[in-house]
C-alpha cells in the first residue's frame, strides 16, 4: 500500500505516469468518496491560494488548499463561496480537512444551490492531470468563457475518475449584509413542499428552502441588504398565510440554523446508510413515502432528499417511476453501486470518455460505473 502526497503538479504527473496500479484519489478525504486502505494519491500537498481579485469576484487556488482557509480569506473581504459546500465530517464520521479541489471534484453544493447554482456553476477553470500523466487545462479565470468544450463542467463532479484536479479558478460572491429565516410549524410533508415551492414562485428571492420532518419545521431563508430583507420577510409572511403564521428568526439564529441544515447533522443513527436523492420537488413526498426512510430531511425546495435506511438497502426502485437519482453517501454494499446507474446509451458514452482520459483505468476505477 502506497500513499502518495505530491507537492507539485509535476510530481502528480510523475506518480501517475509511473504507477501501474489503481490509485484512490483523496483531497481531505471528508466526503466519503473513496475507501482508505489501497494505493492512494492525496492532493493536500498542493496547497495555497494563488490569486484573489475581490473586485473581479475571482479566486485561483491549488486543489489541496483547505476549504477553511479559502472561506476565511474570502471572509476578510466580505465574500464567500456562494454554493456553500457542506462540512460532512460529522455526518460521515470522518476526520481530515476538506479541500477546495475536493468540493469541486464532488460538486458539493448546499442550500443556496436553488438560488445561485451548484459548485459546478462557479468553477471557471481547472488544471488537472489525466490518467496518462498529461497536465491539461480547461476554462480560465474569467466569468464568461465559451472557448472550446466545457471540460470544466465535465471535471466538476467527476469524482477523480477523469483526472486529478490540481488547480481551480472559481467565482465568488459577496456575503449578504443580513439574513432572516421564516419558520412554519406543523406542516406534513405534502403541505411543507407546497409551502416551499409556493415561496420559490414568489418574487422575493428565497435563498434557502428546507423542511425537517423530525422537528416539524419548514424553513425559508432571505438574504440581502437590511431594508430589503425586512421588506421581503414581511411580504413572504403574508404570501404564505395559508400555511400558518411564520415565525421569524434573526440573522445569527438564521445563520446557525442553515449551517445545521447544510451539514445535515440531524441523523443520529450512526449505523444506518445515508442516501441523497435529487428529484423533482413536487415528487419528493411521494418518493419519501415509497422509499420509507428511517429519518429524512428536505432541502432545495424538496428537490434534495437526505435520508437514512438500514444497511444494504436500495431506494432506487422506488425512484424509477418518478425520475431523479440517488447516491449513497455513507455505507458500503458490494452489490449496490454508490452512484445511480445510467441508461445504457449514457453509460456507454461516459465509459468511453473515461477510457479516453484514463485509458489504463487507474483513477478511482469503477467508482462511477
Amino acid at each position: 500500500m502506497n500513499i502518495f502526497q505530491p507537492k507539485t503538479e509535476a510530481d502528480v504527473a510523475q506518480v501517475i505516469r509511473e504507477t501501474n496500479q489503481g490509485l484512490s484519489i483523496f483531497g481531505g478525504g471528508t466526503r466519503g468518496v473513496c475507501e482508505r486502505g489501497g494505493n492512494s494519491l492525496e492532493t493536500t500537498g498542493l496547497s495555497g491560494i494563488i490569486d484573489y481579485q475581490p473586485g473581479a469576484l475571482t479566486m485561483i487556488a491549488q486543489a489541496g488548499t483547505p476549504l477553511k482557509e479559502i472561506v476565511e480569506t474570502l471572509g476578510q473581504e466580505g465574500q464567500q463561496l456562494p454554493f456553500e459546500p457542506m462540512d460532512s465530517h460529522a455526518m460521515l464520521d470522518l476526520t481530515g480537512s476538506a479541500t477546495i479541489g475536493g468540493a469541486f471534484a464532488a460538486n458539493i453544493s448546499g442550500p443556496r444551490r436553488i438560488q445561485v447554482g451548484a459548485a459546478r456553476d462557479f468553477l471557471l477553470g481547472v488544471r488537472f492531470v489525466d490518467g496518462s500523466g498529461n497536465i491539461l487545462k480547461s476554462g480560465g479565470s474569467v466569468m464568461k468563457n465559451v472557448t472550446g468544450y466545457d471540460l470544466v463542467k465535465l471535471l466538476a463532479g467527476s469524482h477523480g475518475t477523469l483526472g486529478v484536479i490540481i488547480q481551480v479558478a472559481f467565482k465568488v460572491l459577496p456575503v449578504a449584509e443580513t439574513q432572516s429565516t421564516l419558520i412554519l410549524e406543523g406542516l406534513d410533508d405534502e403541505a411543507a413542499i407546497d409551502a416551499l415551492t409556493t415561496a420559490m414562485n414568489s418574487p422575493f428571492d428565497v435563498s434557502g428552502a428546507a423542511h425537517a420532518p423530525s422537528k416539524n419545521q419548514t424553513y425559508l431563508r432571505l438574504e440581502g441588504f437590511n431594508k430589503s430583507v425586512l421588506y421581503r420577510t414581511e411580504k413572504l409572511q403574508a404570501y404564505l398565510k395559508k400555511f400558518g403564521e411564520a415565525q421569524v428568526v434573526n440573522a445569527s439564529q438564521s445563520e446557525s440554523l442553515w449551517t445545521k441544515i447544510r451539514n445535515v447533522d440531524i441523523f443520529a443513527d450512526k449505523d444506518a446508510d445515508i442516501w441523497r436523492l435529487s428529484v423533482k420537488p413536487t415528487d419528493a413526498p411521494k418518493i419519501v413515502s415509497a422509499v420509507g426512510f428511517k429519518q429524512h430531511l428536505y432541502d432545495w425546495s424538496g428537490g434534495l432528499i437526505w435520508g437514512t435506511l438500514p444497511k444494504g438497502s436500495n431506494p432506487r426502485s422506488a425512484l424509477s417511476e418518478f425520475g431523479g437519482h440517488a447516491t449513497r453517501v455513507r455505507g458500503q454494499s458490494g452489490s449496490i453501486p454508490k452512484f445511480q446507474p445510467q441508461s445504457p446509451l449514457v453509460a456507454d458514452l461516459s465509459e468511453k470518455i473515461r477510457n479516453k482520459f484514463d485509458p489504463r483505468g487507474i483513477l478511482n476505477a469503477g467508482l462511477m460505473g
Binding site: 473586485g55 451548484a118 489525466d130 464568461k144 467527476s158 423533482k280 445511480q340 482520459f357
Partner: protein, 482 residues
C-alpha cells in the same frame, strides 16, 4: 477563412442522398434545389457564404434520428442550425454538408411552475420561451440581444449569455436537461426537472459544444418568477480607468446589479447620432440596472450612486420612471445598429478580468491607430465580456483582411491579460485558428477526444472550433473520398 475542400464523393451521390432523405421525411422537409439551399448559405457572420448540398427541416426527434443515420452511413457532414444568428460562423455550411434546421420543432411541451421549469422543443426562439410563461409572472433568464430570433438550440450550442447574466448566469446555468440525438441516430435523454444530472456532467459538456457532439431536439429550462421591478442608472466618466474602477467598487460592495453595461466614446458618439438617447458626451459611460421592489431599488441605487460619486462622475442620471429607464436603455440597445450606420463592422467577443479593463481599452486604441480602422466598445462590464466593434468597408479590397488581423490582435490581447477568446459567441470558424493562442496542443487534443467519443467519423459541424490543421487527420481518417 479557409474551409476544407468538399468531398467529391458526397457531391456525386447527391441524388442518392436526397432520395434516401425523402424516404424518411415529407417532401416539404427536404430542400435540395440550388435556388432554395442558398437561403442557408450563411449565418450572421455573413462575410462567409457557401450553400449546402441540401437542407432538412425535421418536425420530430425521430425524424432527426433517421436523417442522422442516413448521413452517418453515407459519410455526409451535417451542420446543425437553429435560427442562423451565430456571429462566429457556427452554422456556416460546407458545399458537401446537409444543414439540419430545427426551426420547425418549436412547441412548448410542458410548463411546471411549482418545480420552476419549462420543456420546449429546441427550435423555439429564446424570447418566445419567456413569452409562454410571462403572463403567469415568470421568465427565462438568459437574454442574448438576438433573443427575438435566436433559438434555444443555438443558445445551448453556444452557451449564450446576455445583458442580465451577471445575476442570472448563462445558458448552462439555466439548462436542466436535453433530449439529444447522436450522429449514429441514438436518442439520449440527459438530466430533467431534477438538479445536477447523475454521473459525469454530460449536460455541461453538451452545452457550448457548438453542434459538434449531437443534435439537441428538446430542452428542459429553469424558469424564474419575475422580480417586482427594475431600474437603471446612467453614469458618465471622463476616462475609462475611472469607469473601470467604479465597476470594481460596485461589485465589491456586495450589490449584485442585474446588468453593468459599458460604452466608450466612439460608441457613445455613434449612438447619439443614430438614436438621440440624450447621452452625455464623455469618455466612458456605465448603465447599471438593479431589481426588486421600489424600496429595494431605491436602496441599491442609493449605494451605487454613493460609490459613483466617489469617482467624480461627469454625469449621474437615475431613471425616475419607466420612460426615463427606456431612454437610458435606448442608446445601449441601438448601439450595434448605430455602429452599423457608420460602416460595416465585425463584432468581437473576448473576455478579460475586469481589473484589466483600462489597460485593454488603451491598448485597443493604440492598435486601432496601427491598423487604421476605428473600433468602438459596448460590452457587459460586470463580467468583463468585451464586444469591440471594428468598423471596415466590405467594398474596399483588403479591408476585411485588415479588420480580421486587427480582431485577432485584440483577442490575443484578451488572452495575454488572463482572459479568453470568446465569452458568449463561440469559436465557430471565426476564432478556430486562434485556439492555439489560448490552449496547448494537448489541451486541444483532450477536447478533440471528446468529439471522437460522440462522433467518431467527425461528421457533425466538422471544420469548426479546432484549428483546421489540428483536426485534419481526424476529419479525413475514415472518409472515403472518391
Amino acid at each position: 477563412m479557409e474551409m476544407p475542400a468538399p468531398n467529391q464523393n458526397v457531391l456525386k451521390r447527391k441524388p442518392e442522398l436526397v432520395k434516401r432523405l425523402l424516404s424518411v421525411l415529407p417532401r416539404d422537409a427536404v430542400i435540395d434545389h440550388e435556388a432554395e439551399t442558398k437561403a442557408y448559405e450563411c449565418d450572421a457572420l455573413s462575410a462567409y457564404r457557401c450553400p449546402p448540398i441540401a437542407a432538412v427541416l425535421p418536425r420530430t426527434t425521430e425524424e432527426t434520428a433517421a436523417i442522422l443515420k442516413i448521413c452517418n452511413e453515407m459519410q455526409v457532414p451535417v451542420v446543425p442550425r437553429g435560427s442562423g444568428t451565430s456571429l462566429s460562423g457556427g452554422a456556416l455550411p460546407t458545399a458537401d454538408s446537409v444543414i439540419l434546421g430545427v426551426a420547425r420543432m418549436n412547441a412548448v411541451l410542458e410548463i411546471n411552475y411549482p418545480d420552476r421549469y419549462i420543456k420546449v422543443q429546441s427550435g423555439r426562439t429564446n424570447l418566445s420561451v419567456t413569452g409562454a410563461v410571462e403572463a403567469d409572472g415568470f421568465f427565462y433568464a438568459p437574454d442574448p440581444s438576438s433573443q427575438l430570433a435566436c433559438a434555444i438550440a443555438g443558445n445551448i450550442a453556444m452557451n449564450s449569455g446576455g445583458a442580465h447574466c451577471l445575476k442570472y448566469g448563462v445558458t448552462s446555468n439555466n439548462l436542466l436537461g436535453v433530449k439529444f440525438v447522436t450522429m449514429q441516430g441514438d436518442i439520449i435523454e440527459i438530466g430533467g426537472p431534477h438538479l445536477d444530472a447523475e454521473g459525469l456532467d454530460l449536460l455541461g459538456l453538451i452545452c457550448g459544444s457548438e453542434g459538434q457532439l449531437g443534435i439537441v431536439t428538446e430542452a428542459t429550462l429553469r424558469i424564474l418568477p419575475k422580480p417586482e421591478g427594475a431600474r437603471p442608472v446612467l453614469i458618465g466618466f471622463d476616462n475609462n480607468e475611472t469607469a473601470g474602477a467604479c465597476v470594481a467598487d460596485i461589485v465589491k460592495a456586495g450589490i449584485l446589479p442585474v446588468a453593468i453595461e459599458f460604452m466608450d466614446s466612439p460608441c457613445i458618439k455613434a449612438t447619439e447620432a443614430f438614436a438621440g438617447a440624450g447621452y452625455p458626451f464623455c469618455e466612458a459611460l456605465l448603465i447599471v440596472e438593479v431589481e426588486g421592489s421600489q424600496a429595494e431599488i431605491d436602496e441599491q441605487l442609493e449605494k451605487i450612486t454613493a460609490i459613483a460619486r466617489k469617482h467624480d462622475p461627469v454625469e449621474l442620471r437615475e431613471a425616475k420612471d419607466e420612460d426615463q429607464a427606456t431612454r437610458i436603455w435606448l442608446g445601449r440597445k441601438s448601439a450595434f445598429g448605430a455602429m452599423g450606420q457608420l460602416n460595416d463592422y465585425m463584432c468581437l467577443d473576448g473576455t478579460i478580468p475586469v481589473t484589466q479593463l483600462p489597460y485593454v481599452l488603451r491598448r485597443m486604441n493604440e492598435l486601432s491607430e496601427e491598423f487604421g480602422l476605428k473600433v468602438g466598445n459596448v460590452f457587459h462590464a460586470g463580467d468583463g465580456n468585451l464586444h469591440p466593434l471594428i468598423l471596415y468597408d466590405a467594398n474596399k479590397p483588403g479591408d476585411l483582411e485588415t479588420c480580421e488581423a486587427f480582431g485577432a490582435e485584440i483577442l490575443k490581447l484578451c488572452v495575454e491579460v488572463g482572459g479568453c477568446l470568446t465569452g458568449e459567441h463561440g469559436v465557430g470558424i471565426e476564432k478556430r485558428d486562434l485556439m492555439p493562442v489560448q490552449f496547448q496542443p494537448e489541451d486541444l487534443e483532450a477536447q478533440m477526444q471528446i468529439k471522437d467519443v460522440f462522433d467518431p467519423q467527425w461528421l457533425l459541424n466538422p471544420a469548426k472550433v479546432f484549428p483546421l490543421d489540428s483536426s485534419a487527420e481526424r476529419r479525413n481518417a475514415s472518409r472515403s473520398l472518391s
